[in-house]
């Protein structure tokens, strides 16, 4: 009976749960789901990581290629993040070109990477105007259950930290390149942005780390990106308004969460290296 009520009248179903300060999956309103990070499982990629936030699973693989820099930024390399939401991960998605949600996620991720300056693109340039690295970061969602951005950023940052690039000898006079695969070095990651997702239910209750069902029922969903105890960005595309105090509280919680997740990524990197 409860199951059919959930399908037929989901808002009422949630309201009843939230009135007693608990969510249908057993979490409190202000509880995050467990996070899991695994690094370096894909050997064909130059760097890879798998991130799990509750039932949302995301895998990121980074492949490096060589290219010429753009004339307008001749001293910079490229980092191209693309988020894929294949039909495999949820019945919500259909085969075909990327859905709106995937496009929004890709763009949001690209902005976060750019604004947080986690990686200095100039270090990806091998020779001005001639040769640069292009890092293809493909982020694929394997199982979709809300808070996609949280998982995407964790996977991307962990994968970037695991990237091993070969040393390239470039001779500009002859335009000859020689890649030495025996000698590899890692990227210089300056900071690790961490994203936390929140939803506003019934215009007043804030749910932390919402699942897919909660996101679809809530009147608004917003992300807070934090980088080393500093607020990096808040992305709140419309929806229900939120009071100052609640927003500040969310930012405070995001900071606490970010430091634990950073530690988790460090531990995963450390375990992968030993």
């Amino acid at each position: 009976m409860a199951e059919s009520f959930r399908v037929l009248h989901p808002i009422k179903y949630y309201r009843d749960y939230i009135a007693s300060n608990v969510r249908p999956d057993g979490r409190g309103l202000h509880k995050f789901r467990p996070v899991l990070v695994n690094i370096g499982s894909i050997q064909t990629a130059d760097g890879s990581a798998l991130a799990k936030v509750g039932d949302t699973t995301v895998i990121c693989g980074i492949k490096a290629e060589l290219c010429t820099p753009k004339p307008e930024c001749a001293r910079e390399g490229f980092l191209i993040p693309n988020v894929e939401l294949p039909p495999l991960c949820s019945p919500k998605f259909r085969p075909g070109p990327p859905s709106d949600e995937a496009q929004v996620a890709s763009q949001l991720l690209a902005n976060i990477v750019k604004n947080s300056k986690c990686i200095n693109l100039q270090e990806l340039c091998l020779f001005p105007e001639k040769l640069a690295w292009c890092l293809f970061a493909d982020i694929i969602c394997i199982s979709y259950d809300g808070s996609l951005m949280d998982a995407c950023i964790i996977a991307l940052m962990a994968a970037l930290k695991s990237v091993q690039l070969p040393v390239v000898d470039y001779d500009p006079a002859a335009d000859s390149r020689l890649v030495n695969e025996e000698e590899k070095k890692s990227l210089n990651i300056k900071s690790v942005p961490i994203c936390s997702t929140f939803s506003i239910f019934d215009e007043k209750v804030v749910l932390y780390d919402p699942t897919d069902e909660e996101e679809s029922l809530c009147s608004s969903t917003f992300n807070i990106v934090v980088r080393e105890d500093q607020l990096s960005s808040v992305h709140k595309p419309g929806g229900a308004p939120i009071s100052d105090e609640k927003l500040f509280e969310c930012i405070k919680v995001s900071k606490e969460r970010a430091s634990t997740i950073c530690k988790l990524i460090e531990t995963a990197i450390h375990e992968n290296n030993t």
């Binding site: 059919s4 399908v7 037929l8 019945p91």
Partner: protein, 208 residues
């Protein structure tokens, strides 16, 4: 549940001989005198008049599709002058994980005064209705009917988005604004007898 005494099988597993006593039932198939399972699930032996029917049921939500005569719960999505489109969400008391499209034509809304029916005075998009599945004529769309007292709108919201309660079989009232709106209301049945009701409706079908 005690997992030790359960008979678990996988697809293609040979379950027994197929003879006068043992017969192949739901979730199994017969080949060359044997009964095989075609699901991963639990084996169940049903005895009926000295015949043992072997059935296999998979755990969790069952994969079922609507059939003629089933009572379904549907949500109205689009209304036009001639028909309204709905999504079937439950069959009987079984919840579907994937919703099926269905059409409810104007003349199937109620049994009397069929020529005076206005769709917008009966249903609005978002309403949850109980309906019966009609014989399938066209491929692909299920046709529904609410031409029975027990069928029609069960959950509806007023124009302002507040829940409404039925006040007669043609009207519902908003709980907040007390505004009345016309609907083809299902005869209200208390939740405690809901399951008997489903059984009774199913019984009606077999009598017909």
């Amino acid at each position: 549940m005690d997992t030790n005494n359960l008979l678990v099988c996988y697809p293609g597993q040979r379950l027994s001989l197929c003879d006068k006593v043992y017969n192949s039932g739901q979730g199994t198939y017969e080949r060359q005198g044997y009964i095989y399972s075609n699901l991963a699930g639990l084996v169940d032996v049903v005895e009926k008049d000295g015949i043992k029917i072997i059935e296999v049921h998979s755990p969790g939500v069952q994969t079922i599709v609507p059939a003629q005569g089933d009572i379904v719960t549907a949500q109205v999505s689009i209304i036009t002058q001639q028909f309204c489109k709905c999504y079937i969400k439950c069959i009987g008391d079984k919840v579907l994980s994937r919703h099926f499209r269905a059409i409810l034509r104007r003349e199937d809304i109620r049994a009397t005064e069929k020529d005076k029916i206005d769709i917008y005075r009966s249903f609005r998009p978002g309403d949850i209705i109980l309906a019966r599945v009609l014989p399938i004529t066209e491929a692909h769309t299920y046709q529904l009917s609410t031409a029975e007292n027990e069928l029609g709108v069960v959950i509806a919201h007023s124009e302002h988005g507040h829940p409404m309660v039925p006040i007669s079989w043609t009207e519902m009232q908003c709980t907040k604004t007390y505004a009345k709106e016309p609907r083809k209301v299902a005869k209200v049945i208390p939740e405690s007898v809901h399951e008997d009701f489903i059984v009774r409706l199913a019984g009606n079908v077999s009598e017909n």
